[in-house]
């Protein structure tokens, strides 16, 4: 978590269609203070932020990528559980890599001040997710129709690239504040 004071929070889950480019409101009311905010966090989890495992699908992607004439129909589902755990480099430090660190995208720079009755909007730009993905290294799971698939772990290069892109603190997530008139 960030140092400082949390001045606003929406604790309900938000399902986003990231292909809709417009900023999207949260469906439930949040709570906050009328204080300026300087940084934000996005928490990517299902049940509990410190859970050792979590089968909740955080990201569900499908599409067609093309490069130099090659077409890569793809899909993939991403969870953040044991599949993302990192073994401690030092056995004396078993808690050095808790999963909560991977589930929180932070800090995301913002400049806004919450006002009673206003709305917080979130826009997610999916394009940076794939910036470093080499689709050619994806596993082809079916031939007819052809389908490439992201495995739900970080063992492969494309999977690791998507996971890192998904959790990028810059360029992916942006917030807006809409006051009620």
């Amino acid at each position: 978590m960030l140092p400082g004071i949390y001045v606003g929070q929406v604790r309900s889950a938000l399902a986003l269609d990231v292909l809709d480019g417009s900023p999207q409101p949260f469906t439930a009311a949040g709570e906050g203070l009328a204080e300026p905010a300087r940084a934000a966090e996005v928490w990517l989890f299902g049940d509990e932020i410190n859970a050792i495992d979590d089968p909740t699908v955080i990201l569900d992607v499908a599409g067609v990528a093309s490069r130099e004439g090659r077409v890569f129909p793809f899909d993939g589902r991403l969870t953040i559980g044991r599949n993302r755990s990192l073994p401690p480099g030092d056995p004396a430090l078993p808690g050095v890599n808790p999963l909560c660190k991977q589930r929180i995208v932070s800090p995301i720079p913002i400049e806004l001040t919450l006002v009673e009755g206003g709305s917080l909007l979130l826009r997610v730009d999916p394009r940076p997710w794939f910036t470093n993905v080499d689709f050619s290294q994806l596993e082809r799971v079916t031939d007819e129709p052809p389908l490439y698939q992201f495995r739900d772990d970080s063992t492969g290069e494309p999977e690791r690239a998507l996971y890192e892109g998904f959790r990028a603190r810059l360029g992916v997530y942006s917030f807006e504040w809409r006051n009620v008139r």
Partner: protein
């Protein structure tokens, strides 16, 4: 998803008195009886009607037996007259009904308003075997003189016992009633903020405990977030004194503040005091008297113990929430109010979830003479309690119906407390020199379980095994032993035609404290982390010189210098909780206190720090007057609060909080016929270089920045024979020096009113005996208190009442607290908490509160037996 923001910003009195006893003719007695039940005016008229009677007595009347005192109450030397140091005699005409009760008191010889009222107050408490004519009880009227000896004058030796006077058939001879009063003299006033309070009839206003008597002083607000057995949180004149950390408290001269208490250095719990045994209270709002020592930041409060009523009194109370209270008080007849015993047992289920409590208290005191010039006093107390606490609730959870207003999140909250003390005091009075010493020893223990934040603070540490939030319950245990002494030598002489005084004194104490604080896991209640383990030896030696100099009879300069020396030696048994290079072969795991093997260099997880500090504290008060019943004063002083042992660093001069306070005020005192008026108006200011501010994560107050407060207060007390009213209004603006922001939690506006109406009930008699009644009311109104992050609390307003009736030895009292049954938030906070272990944690500061008690009824039946001298 969350958004983060900017970083957080008190002699003898009636030494020898004659009672010229006469009875009234039957017709007059009947007339008197008929009027005795009236209100004030009625009582006065009855008494005066009786006054003309005795000389007119016909000689053919049957034999008369005069009334004999059963309960004798000594008058207390008026605190306000101590400075003048004069002797006085007040003569009263006291009317006694056929039941032996005093139904009228008339002033025959006055010695000034203060002495008159002191004598009246004492006389009203006397009880008699009624005068008899032909074997039948009749009303009577006696002449009762009270002599007040100046506090420093030599007491006359006790008169030898007189042989019983032969009874004469028609007129009785005077009888000598001799009572010697011992006591601790009050201090010369230190200005308009020196409130030497006589509890008197205001004791009838409902109060849950002795701490609430502090509300008789202006500007006091008491809250409690920790349950029935938890010390009250005290707010005074812009200070959040927490549980006494900023208010020096003493009972019978024995200090209450616990130096080195882990819950707060100076923690003070007054629940061990039986309220019925408090006869006086001095509250000095500010550090203006050189006798004030450590913790006198917002000021000091001295409780004076005593029991006016002689005999054996037993009371049983029961009421709302299965509350039962058993009280036993005894004062041996023939002894003064300073010899008493008392015991109390209280059990209650509490007004909501998880608020049950049980407590037992015993207090006793003996006093006597040492020769003709000295007196001694021995006192002891024992107290134990066990209680549960509801703790705080989030306002949003209550609004959503997730928890009830009187509910709790964590049923493990509560605690237990024990306190045992012994004190011995000796004092000698010479021609010009008085000196005294008091020695005390006390042991206290406290366990406290509180959860302010739910599941929020258990952050994952690298050396720990992976874990979820295990819960934030604080499990604090503090055991302390205090030994100490204090004493003084006071000289007086005459200079410039005026009495001058000089006092030198000392106060020394040593505190030996062992404290631990764990965090307990919610699922199993076992401790999972040791946060603090500290053994501390603290010493405090204070020396002072205080002068009371008079240039004229209207100009006094009072004050002097206090020097304080502290030494600290603390062993922190858990000084290391993380290591840079943990051992791979022997990893620390989840251990809290870590030894370390850092590249071959081993160290234990402990650290000892020893240091010392001295400070000099000048204090002075200028008193001018009285003129036209008005006395003006100006005061300036410095105070000090020592530092918590947890903040010590080896050989680094101990930091302490330093307080500079100043004020100017006017006091008004006047008697208008039967009405006595006293008023105060004060302008004050205080600056503290290191204030204490509540931290929900530490569960107590922690050091913060400097603060400044400025404000004013107005107070008024009006007393008449059947009426006692007290009211005050305090306004204060308290801000941080660096940011100018308001100091959170501190009330800006406090209004308090207390009132009683008491006397014989008109026309109501039972078996020929009049019924005495009383009604009492207590009002508190506190404006919206500032909270962190620009928030404001709700207004706090409560009304408490009491109705009582007494007949002969019996008394029945019904008290009702929160008469209007308003739901109110007693304490309010604004911080982040997460009481939902499931789902996303709440991270944003939110409103929290502790619920005030709903309407609470207590019916108490009392009986007083014995009392013959």
């Amino acid at each position: 998803m969350a958004i983060a923001s900017r970083p957080p910003a008190h002699a003898r009195a009636p030494s020898a008195r004659r009672a010229c006893v006469r009875t009234l003719p039957r017709a007059r007695a009947a007339r008197l009886a008929g009027l005795a039940g009236a209100l004030l005016l009625g009582v006065l008229i009855a008494a005066r009607a009786a006054a003309v009677g005795p000389e007119a007595l016909p000689s053919s009347r049957p034999a008369v037996v005069p009334p004999a005192p059963v309960v004798r109450v000594d008058a207390v030397y008026p605190p306000r007259q101590l400075a003048a140091g004069r002797s006085a005699e007040v003569v009263l005409a006291v009317t006694i009904d056929a039941a032996g009760s005093v139904t009228g008191v008339e002033l025959l010889t006055s010695a000034g308003a203060d002495f008159d009222e002191a004598a009246r107050t004492a006389a009203r408490a006397w009880r008699f075997r009624p005068a008899l004519r032909a074997g039948a009880a009749v009303a009577s009227r006696i002449r009762l003189p009270f002599r007040f000896a100046a506090p420093f004058e030599l007491a006359p030796p006790p008169a030898p016992p007189r042989a019983p006077e032969p009874r004469r058939p028609q007129r009785t001879e005077p009888r000598v009633l001799e009572v010697t009063v011992l006591g601790r003299p009050s201090r010369p006033s230190r200005g308009a903020s020196d409130f030497q309070l006589e509890v008197g009839e205001l004791a009838r206003v409902p109060r849950r405990n002795a701490t609430e008597l502090l509300q008789l002083a202006p500007g006091m607000l008491l809250t409690n977030e920790g349950g029935e057995g938890h010390a009250e949180q005290i707010f005074l004149r812009g200070f959040d004194a927490r549980e006494g950390q900023d208010l020096e408290l003493s009972v019978g001269g024995v200090p209450v503040n616990q130096a080195g208490n882990l819950h707060g250095n100076g923690h003070a719990d007054l629940h061990f005091v039986i309220p019925e045994l408090v006869v006086g209270l001095r509250v000095l709002e500010g550090p203006f008297d050189p006798r004030q020592g450590n913790f006198a930041v917002a000021g000091s409060a001295e409780y004076e113990l005593g029991l006016a009523r002689r005999g054996l009194t037993a009371k049983y109370g029961f009421g709302s929430f299965a509350t039962q209270r058993l009280l036993a008080l005894w004062g041996p007849p023939g002894s003064g109010p300073g010899t008493f015993g008392g015991a109390e047992l209280l059990r209650s289920a509490g007004f909501g979830t998880n608020r049950d409590s049980t407590r037992a208290t015993a207090m006793g005191q003996l006093e006597g003479r040492v020769g003709a010039r000295g007196h001694w006093r021995l006192a002891g107390t024992a107290y134990a309690t066990r209680y549960h606490s509801a703790g705080v609730l989030r306002a949003d959870d209550v609004a959503r119906g997730r928890v009830g207003f009187f509910d709790t999140y964590d049923r493990r909250q509560g605690g237990d407390v024990t306190r045992f003390s012994l004190a011995a005091e000796l004092e000698w009075s010479g021609e010009q020199l008085t000196h005294g010493h008091q020695f005390f020893a006390l042991r206290n223990s406290m366990r406290l379980l509180e959860n302010f934040t739910g599941f929020l603070l258990d952050s994952q540490q690298p050396q720990q095994n992976l874990h979820r939030q295990r819960g934030d319950l604080i499990d604090l245990n503090n055991v302390g032993l205090t030994v100490g002494a204090r004493g003084f030598g006071r000289w007086h002489g005459r200079l410039l035609g005026q009495r001058q005084e000089l006092e030198l004194g000392y106060a020394v104490r040593g505190d030996f404290v062992e404290a631990t604080q764990y965090r307990n896991e919610t699922a199993t209640s076992v401790p999972y982390r040791l946060e603090t383990a500290i053994d501390a030896e603290l010493s405090d030696l204070g020396l002072y010189a205080d002068a009371n100099l008079r240039a004229t009879n209207w100009l006094s300069l009072r004050g002097g210098l206090r020097a304080e020396a502290f030494t600290f030696n603390a062993l922190d048994r858990c000084a290391v909780d993380s290591v840079a290079h943990p051992s791979r072969s022997n990893p620390p795991g989840d251990r809290s206190c870590l030894d370390s093997q850092d590249y071959g260099r081993y160290r234990e997880p402990v650290a000892r720090a020893a240091t010392a500090a001295t400070v000099f504290l000048p204090r002075v008060t200028l008193v001018v007057g009285p003129f036209f019943h008005l006395t003006a004063s100006a005061s300036l002083g410095r105070g000090i609060r020592s530092i918590d042992p947890i903040y010590l660093t080896q050989d680094v001069a101990t930091p302490f909080a330093s307080i500079t306070a100043y004020e100017g005020g006017v006091a008004y005192a006047r008697r208008l016929g039967w009405l006595e008026l006293a008023g105060r108006g004060v302008l004050f200011g205080t600056q503290v270089d290191r204030d204490l501010i509540f931290s929900e994560t530490a569960g107590r107050n922690t050091l913060a920045q400097g603060t400044t407060r400025r404000g004013w207060l107005a107070a008024l007390r009006a007393r008449a024979m059947i009426l006692d009213l007290s009211g005050s209004l305090t306004q204060v603006h308290s801000t941080f020096d660096d940011t100018g922001l308001l100091v959170p939690y501190v009330p800006e506006l406090v209004l308090r009113g207390d009132g009683t109406l008491h006397g014989a009930l008109p026309r109501l008699r039972l078996r020929g005996q009049p019924l005495q009644g009383h009604a009492a009311l207590g009002l508190t109104w506190v404006g919206r208190r500032p909270l962190p992050y620009g928030q404001r609390s709700d207004v706090l307003a409560t009304v408490d009442g009491a109705l009582g009736v007494a007949w002969r030895e019996l008394e029945l009292v019904r008290t009702l607290q929160n008469v209007l049954d308003r739901r109110y938030r007693l304490g309010e906070y604004n911080y982040a908490s997460n009481f939902d272990a499931q789902g996303p944690p709440a991270l944003v500061p939110a409103r929290h509160f502790t619920a005030g008690a709903p309407r609470t009824l207590l019916l108490t039946l009392g009986i007083t037996l014995g009392g013959q001298a």
